[in-house]
């Protein structure tokens, strides 16, 4: 049904993986579709497209969210980090390295979302125990069932970070 007042082509600015981009998007385009279909950043996955699986998790202004449930226009001015932006050149992000070390995936489809979610979890700093890691990673489903190794990988990075903090003190 056409709507006489229908809006199209809203100008917005997003900083995506450190690069500032001036974009024009229709208001019904989700951040996920903008990333995948318009900017060809296909590392972020579309699983359920309903906020139930977490495969689309990205960091917006440092906080993990489901990119499938946010309209891109509503985040005008935000800084977005996707899986493509986590590594520092050839150096993997510690969470990426830990996922490889711990074999924390099988098919890999949920992995970008799992890794972005884990980076968000570590930044929040509310998880201290394995039970808390499991609870705070509950927004990311893995149909292969790699949960045990995912929790191992995150525990490893938490341990590395606490060792590094103690060394710095």
């Amino acid at each position: 049904m056409s709507n006489p007042a229908e809006t199209s082509g809203v100008p917005i600015t997003l900083t995506i993986n450190g690069s500032r981009q001036e974009l024009t998007v229709d208001p019904w385009v989700t951040l996920l579709d903008l990333l995948r279909e318009h900017l060809l950043l296909t590392g972020t996955k579309k699983g359920c497209d309903q906020g139930q699986c977490g495969a689309c998790t990205v960091l917006v202004d440092g906080k993990r969210i489901n990119s499938c449930l946010v309209l891109a226009v509503a985040r005008d001015g935000a800084e977005i980090s996707t899986i493509e932006g986590l590594a520092d050149g050839e150096h993997l992000h510690p969470v990426q390295a830990a996922f490889i070390e711990r074999d924390a995936f099988q098919c890999g489809y949920c992995t970008p979302g799992q890794i972005c979610s884990a980076v968000g979890l570590l930044g929040e700093g509310h998880a201290r125990t394995r039970a808390e890691i499991r609870e705070q990673m509950s927004g990311n489903l893995c149909r292969c069932g790699a949960y045990t190794n995912i929790a191992d990988a995150i525990e490893d990075v938490m341990h590395q970070q606490s060792v590094a903090r103690e060394a710095a003190e």
Binding site: M1, S2, N3, A5, E6, T7, V10, P27, W28, T30, D49, Q50, G51, G54, T57, K63, R64, I65, N66, C68, L69, V70, L71, V73, A74, S117, G120, L121, E124, H126, T129, A131, E132, R134, E135, Q136, S138, G139, N140
Partner: protein
Amino acid sequence: MNRFEYVRAGSVGEAIEALAGAPDARALAGGTNLVDLMKYDVAKPSRVVDINRLPLKDFAETSSGGLRIGALVTNSEVAWDPRVVKRYPLLSSAILAGASPQLRNAATTGGNLLQRTRCYYFYDPSTSCNKRSPGSGCAAIGGINRIHAILGMSDDCIAVHPSDMCVALAALDATVHVEGPNGPRVIPFAEFHRLPAHEPQRDNTMQPGELIIAVELPPSDFGSNHTYLKVRDRLSYAFALVSVAAALRMESGVIAEARLALGGVAHRPWRDRTAEEMLRNQKPDESQFSRCADEVLRDAKGQGGNDFKIELARRTIVRALRQAAAGTPQVQSDKTIS
């Protein structure tokens, strides 16, 4: 998703004007429920009013010793706020029992109050639903209804309100500050959500064009005598089959005041002041808790698929009161129930 007019409101006045100007306009905050409903064609607003730039992120002490939470403060910000953790741990716990960290990072205080039922028929436009299409009937009555209401339902709707946060807000006697074309007003939490009766399309008592500005918490002194106990189909990240927010003010080993609110059982967070009153001046023991649970559930009625919820609710109330009396609130990352 339908096409719509996008309005980015620069002030509360602009937002109210834009909302009042189109009967089916919707306010967009975190988007976690509205965008989902739009993808299913359950919500098809002709106008979406983006309120994310409004100055509704205040989160401050009130002169009466409570807290005022702006409508755009996210669920995560509320749950982890040190003042909330210390003075309103029941609210923090209820929020952390709901959704996932990603959703809580985007979802807002106002949006949580306005989220809609997860009744599968409401979500499926190919079925009849009086909430989605008034007058079309209710496919849940006589259909698959294991998640549906056991209290306060009508012949037109047996949907339940899905929020965890709102169950705690009901127990804590919060108030909702709204503003609309006729100015601001304050709605007690118990009067904010409504029972379905013959208008299940109306989830709450807000008027057209009104916008939630803030939620206010009065001072609270339940100490550690509280709990939010949520029972669901899996250990995390699922809506409640039954949840119970309990808070007791204990004086010399006696219950001086009891608050009890249930989620997952009715069209709104369910509070029963008669049952609460039964606990006043009583010693906290199992027989009192059982009597209280029986009182809450005196009019409970199953629909076939959800008959089990009546006994589940009874047991959850008793367990929650036991936890609250002992001062051992449920920890949401602990998947065992004491």
